[in-house]
Symmetry: D2
Subunit: 402 residues, 4 copies
């Protein structure tokens, strides 16, 4: 009756299903909470499964639009690639899920929040730092980290408590997915000399089976936001899903990464991000056309930091807001259309145009239309190289005049 | 007789052929100097052509090994991609050519050095800053920048002086090439909305015509230096040329870039770097396996600076040496073999192994072999998130205890 | 009559007085324009002097508030110290002066703008880049750079044209001053082994003559803006002037700097910034108390870039706005009071307090009030040091288990 | 007899004296080990005290020269100031002490190493990460963190075991000291609004009591190493101690810092570093004279990282070696003499001279000796400002030609 409530991040899988019972055993009333961030789950099924197992209440929340417009968009505009490879798939959804859990917890007057992460991944950090930032009074429980069972013991417990065992239980993979991509770790992938098996992939066709005819898409951006595909406007979440489809068909966006986790170990991960990788390439090319050189050369510093901050679970640090303020300011110029050829695993930018284009044919040309002041270069070079020249005179001891 | 000598960087093309005469008109004895940095020129032909036109002496220098072992290798180990795209092809050869010109000038007791660059490119800066750094007493002459002729006037002058007109004179392209790649600008490329025409490419097969069977190569690295292909050892220059061949056949390494030149304008360039792009991918993956996290996360800062310094003509600034000292120190760990699948324009790293691998299956695994201390994570998260939590408590005014 | 107009940045000194006549000789009608950015000039005198010499119109503009609220404040909040020493005195006023010149030029339908800088300083760059950014159609004229006279020839010309010769003409110094400080170069200062003579200073008392009793000031900040001194509210320009007075009396803010100019040479400069240095110290200490660690450690990267961008004349580059957006976002937390002891050339922060203080005595204390979780450290250290440990095991070949 | 050995970092104070007994209680034979890194301890007394309390062996090691030549020198050449204030006093000695402890442990075939740090400071991290890097097989014990006694309980235990209680037991301060400075935390210092009391200081005279006559010292540097004072050569450790004396007498080097600890909290610390601060100022000024602009502007990035790496206990990460390789390369130019006036808490650099000086009076002068090419500036400015100008034309929609 007057038991304390815990809000559990519920995925419908074995771990969090077992966690419902395990938390009940600890004396909590369990409120299940499942978010849709674009992984294409059957939410109604998951909702009922939680109740069947014993949750006193079960929330399902469609967060696709919020996920796209805030999290995925920031990653896109920052060209966020952790260690120059990983587009932050799971790292982006964790703070949003944490926020929704905290909102439900406050509404339900729960005393704790629970998540299904183990003790060696990044996600536990992202969840717990986010939850503590949003409501430091909430306790955080990590059943999977705490129960210390072997896989066999967990299954034993599930059977004893009538928790349905998933049919793909012997899958060697551990998957996480959202609009921005799909991550996969474990099993055979743990040998970095072995190529990932074809079964590790789901969103992308293998190169060998991609069509022999390309698709050409024109992506329109307004202030750095992709707003239309081939002239048709979409909500951002829908646009990303569309691109996942088309680019996935052409095998775009497979990533095989030996990465440094926040918790100090290297792990080998396989990602598929067809839509994300296509958008990242297109957006970068539009920036190449529209950003002034000084921004183009400094923005990567901001991007690297923002990428690390997000990867490392610090979305709710005030630093994130300051980095995003920089980013926002730069995006007003990023307007235009990019033409992308999707073919054989590539998203090839073939053309880009913009009302804010800083590329000026009359300055760049080698024809007689040339408006560039060639003689200015002489003075420029003299002063540009002056420190090197003076240093050389002094330190290389050549006899000379400055 | 007692005329002053100038050493001219001679390519065999129209501009520098005309420059021989033009410099003679100005009263100089011209010493021609042509370097082979892997572009596959007919050096003997060029040597004689210079003499025929009127040079008093004609040097040809094979600098392929020096170019590979110092310049290309530094770019490889730094993962040097200017604006995240351009592997510094021409930027790498300019300081080496400058150095050879200065050496010849000192040997010949010349008073000046001349190059064939125009007034709006990067190469004039790279040549002149390098020459002044190496010998500040040498005058630098840039005939093409100075004579201010239209193309027609230049051809007129050539005809008058019996200078052979190249048969491909109406080629719309301006090419530069070395072991590390080939760059192409001008003509139809000046419209960034238009895709580059197939004729713009020479080292790489178009995706549509690549073979349907991949090549798999194993690249062996010792201290960050690629030393063997498929078990066979090569001098570095030879290894790069081999890879240009194989990877080029599979269409690897086409780059289409709207870039910010040092002289303040944006230009559109097309590059082909089949060997370079393959090596860059392989080397990065081996570093992902072997570099400690702290180096992996800071090295990109060094790389970005080194890339800019080289692009901007400052190879002979003392800064370059200091950046290279950092780089060298990191490469002792980069030993091992990388297996690369060359297919449909991709250089896909399928496997990597190393005696210095920091990837530890027993730490990374989710099987019962796991040796990672899961409980350590609890303490880690508490302290990692503490600043964000305290900031949240204070500034979000939630009533709570720390 | 129908002559073209030029707007001249007029200081009242010899160079720009001569420039009025020189520009008339070139066929222009000269509109003089003098800004007050806090250097304490007699504006009415300057206004009339310009007219007497021959200007057709003479503007004087009080820009102290604008200079303080935008330029000096940005420098303060960024802790802008070029090469860790120079608080950007002149670099801050140039873009503002350029902006006012352009406004006057547009109002007067002038075709050109003129400034009195020489060809080897930074200020010519700052003026010209700013003017071209604000109105690329305006021509820029630099009489002093163009006329190539010796000092004697200039004086000769002045006498011939009845231009008053300043009585301190043989002063060895070249001064620029505004609210944020005073810069001085030239003459005896050109030997970096010689100490600056006492006459080089004007705003600060020499250490030897400072009072033996300190002044204590409490500076109140709201969102990073200094708003009150010892409880009394001031407009920012007034507050800075007050502090120049008090801190100058105690000899605070003398700076002797061998600096790298943008134009490639090193020069030796002497600055006095009593108010600025006091505010910079106080603001930094309040940030130490109020900024979350992640911002505290990344903000210096932004500050360094902003400082360089301003020093290098790029205030009107879009990059500046993006950097300022980051900065602004961080300042909302910077509220509180700092107590500063001004004594013997020091601005010593003795105390700081803030409603946003993140310093928590209960976390920091070593008494029994301690609320810090000491055991969390064990887990933290294990994971924090894990990459170093694994690297050591692998690469130092100690026999061990992970 | 056949008990396992532990090597204890022994300071002679109460905590580590109690730790000897406490470790014995746990069943270890205790080997005490005390390092002299310049804090001026009575080593013989400490050695015997350990034996008296019960250590089976007692080492005292003079590490002053090693500490100076490697650790303090790196900090000096990097201008290492954590959060722009703290010269890394304790952070520098921890890795060296760890190294000596490991050496003794290996020699003594001990199974563990013990240190006296609590659970909320930085030093526990520095010790443990260093020890694990040097010998991952050694266990690390932190008695003070583990025993969880109140101060009263600790004293009780000491009395019961005949451990001498220091006479200054009620000192409110917690001190650490070495050649590079002295740190002090705790007690009254915990209120950041309160000024540190005079008793908090030991190495420096208060401003009010400093002499009215300055001392002038000339410091000679060879390749960035301070080698002589006023013409007399010293070993580095001796030179620093000399400067501590002279500069301390003039009140130089007091620092009052609210700092972000690695473990996530802010703490308030008071430091005294008279010699270090004097050397840091002098070395920076010599670099201002001798480093080429490109190094001068990038070295701070390296310095910031190195400072953080050292502060955060990662001295033995391979990153440190790579950063030091950069640093070393830059120091070959840093030769010369700096004249410093020590007076009223200031170390004022009045003059600097160097055979590698890049300051060139003939380039810098405004006299007729001027060799600078003023017209080069015109071309330089045109290209330098070109991106800003083009951006302005396009995005501000002023009608104009480029």
């Amino acid at each position: 009756m007057s038991q304390q409530k815990v809000v559990l991040a519920y995925s419908g899988g074995l771990d969090t299903s077992v966690a419902i019972k395990w938390l009940q055993d600890k004396g909590y009333d369990v409120v299940a909470c499942c978010l849709d961030v674009g992984e294409g789950k059957d939410l109604q099924f998951i909702k009922e499964k939680a109740l069947t197992i014993g949750a006193i209440k079960s929330y399902v929340i469609d967060a696709k639009e919020e996920f796209s417009n805030i999290y995925a968009l920031s990653a896109l505009q920052a060209h966020a690639l952790y260690e120059e490879k990983y587009p932050l798939v799971s790292a982006l959804s964790r703070p949003l899920i944490a926020q929704k859990l905290v909102e439900v917890a406050e509404q339900e007057q729960a005393v704790a929040v629970a998540h299904g992460c183990t003790g060696k991944g990044n996600d536990q950090v992202r969840f717990e730092v986010s939850i503590k930032a949003l409501n430091p009074d909430l306790e955080v429980i990590a059943p999977v980290r705490d129960w210390k069972w072997s896989r066999e013991e967990e299954i034993e417990y599930a059977k004893e408590h009538n928790i349905p065992i998933p049919i793909n239980l012997d899958s060697p993979f551990s998957i996480d997915q959202n609009l921005w991509g799909r991550s996969n770790e474990c099993g055979v992938l743990e040998d970095p000399w072995a190529a990932p098996p074809e079964e590790a992939y789901d969103l992308t066709v293998s190169l060998e089976k991609t069509p022999d005819t390309p698709d050409i898409v024109e992506i329109k951006f307004e202030k750095g936001v992709p707003v239309a595909l081939n002239g048709q406007y979409y909500a951002l979440s829908q646009l990303i899903l569309e691109l996942n489809e088309i680019a996935g068909k052409h095998g775009v966006g497979r990533i095989d990464h030996v990465e440094n986790r926040l918790v100090g170990i290297k792990s080998r991960e396989v990602y598929e991000c067809p839509g994300a990788m296509t958008l990242l390439k297109a957006h970068k090319e539009l920036e190449d056309l529209t950003l002034v050189k000084e921004i183009a050369h400094f923005k990567p510093v901001i991007s690297k930091k923002l990428t690390e901050v997000i990867y490392e679970g610090l979305w709710f640090s005030p630093l994130t807001k300051a980095l995003l303020a920089f980013l926002q300011e730069t995006q007003q110029y990023v307007n235009g259309v990019v033409r992308v050829k999707l073919f054989k695993g590539h998203a090839i930018v073939e053309g880009r145009k913009s009302p804010n284009s800083l590329y000026n044919e009359k300055l760049a040309t080698y024809t007689k239309e040339d408006e560039f002041d060639h003689q200015a270069a002489v003075g420029f070079i003299t002063l540009w190289g002056l420190p090197t020249k003076v240093s050389s005179i002094i330190n290389n001891k050549k006899v000379t005049n400055v």
